[in-house]
Amino acid sequence: MPSSEAPAVTPVPTKAPSPGGPKAVPGPRPIEGRSPWALAWERLRHDRVAIGSALVIVLVALMAICAPLIALATGHGPDKTFPLTGLTPAGLPRPPSATFLLGTDDLGRDLLVRVAYGAQISLLVGVAATGLAVAIGVVIGLVSGYFAGAVDSLLARVMDIVLSFPLLLFAIALVVIVGPSLLVTIFVIAFFSWAPVGRVVRGQTMALKEREFVEAARALGARASRVMFVEILPNITAPILVYATLLVPASIAFEATLSFLGLGIVPPTPDWGSMLAEAVGYYQVAWWFLVFPGGALVATTLAFNLLGDAVRDALDPRAGAIFGVRVEAGAKEA
């Protein structure tokens, strides 16, 4: 039921001249016009899972922002090794203690500080790769859907080809040539993530461009770019938003996988994936080395996935009843 049933002007004027209702008893609420976004926000605000996962994400973000402060407070730099205090006499990592709250790693570095700095990389890659992928996907999807014909068949074919690239092997191949780095990681993830966004946007655009408001805009002489970005785009932000929320955890997980294989973030930089790769040789004697970076990684991706689900449910209440049908949103293979 669209919000058009209640004209947006009603609330203020009707309330003022009607002082009849007794103040103590809450009378019938004045009819209020609420946009679909306001309705979704209202639903999201009362969703305990959404609030909880948003809190976790805020916490991780705070940890990332405050990483230098944590380093300052503990006096342990992210790459600084403490061979005397941070390692046992046998040269093994030390368990969590008052000086090293989460223990140390194989080189005697403070895990707490490194996990906090790792949050920076994970969030940066997750958000940057998603932003880039969504930007490319939206532009290509809009163009492809709006201009049918040759342009569309060409772009649709390009999307097919990108979707046929074996993601991980191609990432491996690329890294051999250009060498692993943060930028390469972001570009690889974005390059392989825009095509599904493009498909969704293309489909929606094709459906919307036949609608009256688009015809009206065209009749008024709007240019193609205006019709695409001002008329059509605002109407498809909901699916894009849902997809983006689910693309962030997929990107974070894929970055961790690449770094774990030694193809993403290069070692001295603190990163959850490469920390886990370092932990492989030591988890038998140092559980904290495996559990803390791994826990941070799962907590972050889980929180984003839960939030993405909640956003989808809030924007499309019907999806709630058949929870999880549209799994294609969470880009696989991470």
Partner: protein, 321 residues
């Protein structure tokens, strides 16, 4: 016939996709600022040696020539020779493939069983405790990269159990199926489970959603009304049509399975294609990497064609597009 035409067209499209991928990969390698001849000749080689190596490998010829030569070889089942060991790439791949196939096939069977089973269970009692527990578990595993689950399984089921004196699972290694089937399965259980659990979650949610939808249909009510047993209604009438989205997903996942297998092989020290890929990266062994990329792409394209063909067989409307 419409279906044959559709099928031929899909195969042609697939061939074009593979052709484009091969050009991209080839250009990436041989046009990128990257001196292959120096790589092979070694760091200490004199310029004369480097030039000699380049001539021997045909690297001084135009890129088009080189590409043609490579494509010609590919069409004849020859992917070139490893820079590192000089072995044919095809035989390197063939020697490693059984491990990856064992891992992939086993994992696929397990994730289908777990995923569809759990999804059916959840759909039969929606909003029950079991349903909620399964949904929660699915989300946790879905959020977990396969390598992390593998590490945790190694830690808990291999290391902790061994500490407790129970030597239940081997930590790494591979035994051929023909050598000792029991030992083969034994060594693969943990890798199978790590790969299967992270994928099964998608199937649990797909099956649950689709089955819930289907169970609300009129023909299910009819089936119940004519007195069929609940089991027959759910498993025969309901599940059959609920499995259509599962089939699509399975095709997609089969195509990308190689990627997941690479990661898991790495965690468990299995000498499969994944290990080959990672070691080729260290050795900068370009022909092997190109071969693996082409193999994986072919796999992906073939899986997509099979899914489309199944869909076309099931639904005649698809053929028209």
């Amino acid at each position: 016939m419409a279906f044959t035409r559709f099928f031929v067209r899909r195969i042609l499209q697939g061939a074009i996709v593979l052709f484009v991928i091969s050009v991209v990969v080839f250009v990436m390698y041989f046009v990128a600022p990257h001196n292959v001849a120096r790589l092979i000749a070694g760091r200490q080689a004199t310029p004369a040696t480097v030039a000699d190596v380049a001539r021997r490998l045909g690297l001084n010829r135009p890129v088009i020539d080189q590409y043609w030569h490579w494509l010609w070889g590919l069409l004849h089942g020859n992917l070139g020779y490893s820079f590192y060991s000089s072995e044919p790439v095809t035989s390197l791949i063939a020697s490693r493939a059984p491990v990856t196939i064992s891992l992939a096939v086993g994992a696929a069977i397990i994730w289908l069983l777990i995923g569809v089973g759990a999804g059916t269970l959840a759909a039969r009692r929606p909003r029950s405790l079991a349903d909620r527990a399964l949904t929660a578990a699915a989300l946790v595993f879905y959020s977990m990269p396969a390598f992390l689950l593998g590490l945790l399984l190694l830690f808990l089921l291999f290391f902790k159990l061994r500490l407790a004196g129970v030597d239940l699972f081997p930590g790494s290694g591979y035994v051929g199926l023909s050598t000792n089937p029991a030992s083969w399965a034994w060594h693969l259980i943990l890798p199978w489970v790590s790969l299967a659990l992270v994928t099964a979650t998608t199937y649990e949610r797909l099956t649950r959603g689709a089955l819930l939808d289907v169970l609300g249909e009129d023909y299910i009510r009819t089936a119940r009304a004519k007195g069929l047993s609940e089991r027959r209604v759910v498993y025969v009438h309901g599940l059959r049509s609920a499995l259509a989205p599962v089939t699509t997903q399975f095709g997609i996942d089969l195509g990308t399975l190689l990627g997941g297998a690479i990661v898991v092989e790495n965690v468990f020290g299995l000498p499969g294609l994944g290990a080959l890929a990672v070691s080729s990266v260290t050795n900068e062994d370009l022909p092997v990497i190109i071969g693996l990329v082409m193999l994986a792409s072919a796999f992906l394209v073939a899986a997509n064609i099979v899914v489309d063909a199944i869909y076309a067989l099931l639904d005649p409307r698809v053929r028209a597009h």
